[in-house]
């Protein structure tokens, strides 16, 4: 018996939803198996996870708040990935966005909200774009791998952020907090308003607007059409007059701006200061996972981001399970597992297994 792969002519629509769904189910099963093997009560763990994140009002609020930055970073990833630009720099661009946004926020916070909030958000976008500029230029004109450059810039941004808060008494650092280095708080006028007492803030609305915006860009504009051509058939694009270098640069810069906006939204909506601990938790990398699971679809990204937000959220609740205390690392392990299975499942969307009866002598 010989098994080979054959490309599917057309991808059936149920595959698009079915495969990610199956990955999540399989990931949960394998994760559950793993929990049982290591002596934990898998059902209780999953029950607690869903209870803390999806069934209570607070839980849903926290989950949506956690999903907000993930939506932005997932959009950042999917825009670039669609044209085969594998930027993994959302992490660093998010830090840069946070640095710019908090910098501007501290400066203009005392003016009216109508001025301060847009200023903070724009600063975040600019910060993310600035951080992407060099990798984008290098990629577009020299062909320098954006994978490596964006990754390297992530670390540079991380250390810059640590320098601003821990390593010096800069403008960003709270001068009144002499006992422990902390970011200076933005004035209340620069905060993104919250929904009641919930932790959800207007960043979520912004993320949804950005989602629609990106969908529109991809589907309804000439630019989006050119992106599709460039993504599907780079050589054909070149010959059909798509300005490849300019497109490459622009797409990467848009991606950077979206990631920067994630940083601004975290600063203005959640932490209200430059908070290295709250930003440096892998939001950028998680965005790539979300985008991939969503098959680079903006609306899919929103749904997956909410799922992942809940997963992250529930990690701390697992620890207070009393005797059943489960290491919070299970959330990370599950994320990785689900993604790995989704990647494997992806194959069956694009290809079909062909089993031929021909018997081979060797394997």
């Amino acid at each position: 018996m010989k098994i080979s792969l054959e490309r599917r002519g057309a991808v059936k629509s149920w595959h698009l939803i079915g495969v990610p769904l199956l990955s999540v189910i399989f990931g949960t099963l394998v994760g559950g198996l793993f929990l049982e093997v290591t002596g934990h009560n898998a059902i209780l763990v999953f029950k607690t996870m869903s209870q803390t994140s999806y069934t209570t009002l607070y839980g849903i609020g926290d989950t949506l708040a956690a999903a907000t930055p993930l939506i932005f970073t997932a959009l950042a990833a999917l825009v670039a990935f669609r044209v085969n630009l594998y930027s993994i720099g959302a992490e660093g661009q998010l830090f840069a966005g946070g640095i710019f946004a908090s910098g501007v926020g501290i400066a203009v916070g005392t003016s009216s909200s109508a001025l301060a909030i847009p200023a903070v958000l724009i600063a975040g976008i600019v910060g993310g774009m600035v951080w992407m500029t060099l990798p984008a230029l290098f990629r577009a004109w020299f062909g320098t791998s954006e994978i490596i450059t964006t990754l390297m810039f992530n670390f540079v941004a991380l250390f810059l952020m640590r320098y601003l808060i821990y390593g010096s008494s800069t403008y960003w650092r709270d001068p009144t907090s002499t006992n422990f280095p902390q970011g200076k708080k933005l004035d209340q006028n620069a905060w993104l308003p919250r929904f009641g007492t919930q932790s959800i803030h207007w960043g979520l609305v912004l993320a949804l607007v950005a989602t629609v915006g990106i969908w529109f860009l991809l589907r309804k504009t000439r630019f989006g059409y050119q992106m599709k051509v460039l993504g599907d058939a780079p050589n054909a694009a070149r010959y059909s007059g798509v300005p490849v270098k300019r497109m490459t640069f622009t797409v990467l810069i848009i991606s950077g701006g979206l990631a920067g906006l994630a940083g601004a939204s975290e600063v203005a909506g959640r932490a209200h200061a430059l908070d290295p601990n709250g930003l440096a938790i892998g939001l950028g990398y998680a965005g790539i996972i979300v985008a991939t699971l969503a098959r680079l679809n903006p609306f899919g990204a929103v749904i997956i981001a909410i799922g992942f937000g809940g997963l992250q959220n529930s990690a701390s609740a697992l620890q207070s399970l009393g005797t059943e205390s489960v290491p919070s690392a299970i959330a990370t392990t599950l994320q990785g597992l689900i993604l790995l299975l989704a990647l494997a499942g992806e194959l069956f969307v694009r290809y079909r297994l062909k089993v031929s009866k021909r018997v081979e002598v060797s394997v």
């Binding site: 198996l33 010096s168 938790i281 609740a317 620890q319």
Partner: protein, 374 residues
Amino acid sequence: MEIPLKRRALAVVAGVTAVLLAACSSSSSSSTAAEEAAPAVEKLKVAFVYIGVPGDAGWTYMHDQGRLEMEAALGDQIETTAVENVPEGPAGKKTFEDLARQGYKLIFGTSFGYMDPMLEVAAAYPDVKFMHATGYKTAPNMGTYFGAAEEARFLAGMIAASVSKSGRLGYVAAFPIPEVVRGINAFELGAQAINPKATTKVVWTSTWYDPTIESKAAQSLLNAGADVLAQHQDSPATGQAAEEVGARWLSYNSNMQSLAPKAWAGGPGWDWGPFYIAQAKAVIDGTWKSEQYYGNMKDGMVKLFGPAEDVPADAAAAVKAAQDAFIAGTAAPFDGPILDQAGKTQVAQGATAPMDALMSMQYFVKGVQGTIAK
């Protein structure tokens, strides 16, 4: 490969189903057991929020020991939980909110950076009592607690100077904040009590707990000629680095002797248990009130582990005498005269540094080599 795919797939599915069924049955049995055991009196739910993990043998470990002491002492009157790896700053706020919502009525936050988030959550949950270690902000339902580690650090400095051949001591320190600066100064003053020429070289790591970084920092001090190291860090990496080259080491937090037995000479540490028990009792009795508790060697919150057996007897006796004086209240680590690095008098002859000066200390005493980043 001739095994039919279908049969294998079936086997896998069967296996998974079996495990799930087992999981279901085990969970249902455990939940009924819990219901049967449900006590008539409502337990006080106590939560601990940790910056690291209890296994670190350091700061978090000692707090968790205190939690376990509390469980042992109060038995079924209380129920405790611990949440670990909670980041400082705004990012930690969610954890405190979660715990308050889950019905925890007494919540201990054991890292300085939890101060503002705890204060915010305390305001939103007035019926929950919050106790914050190492901080200074309070509310009607939020108090602080800490202890005079400087007493034990002074003694550690005495031990260090007595086992040092060169009089060049090294100090691996986390952040340039008053708590750490105070400890370094006390250590140097203690060392000078044995060897007036002793110096302490300081290296900052910008982290409380990162063994790799702590280890590199320790090595650089050893390379620069220090033969005894002390630390304001949570891992034993400094000691392990000292052990490797035959240097000596003063640990911190817990008794870390077993982690670098040849290097270990002693070390300051904590015992949080009695305080935690008293706090829980006060909440149960309804006598709890917000306060700024500052423990010391007298009430046992601050401890000195060691000195190790090979510390010279006369030095050990001097350490013991100084400890007795601290406990009796006849002496304090920051008794004058104390000069800073520039030679300026910070505490006059015959005076003792007052509490607020200790809490905001931002200078190094003469004999410390290093700078406090502004």
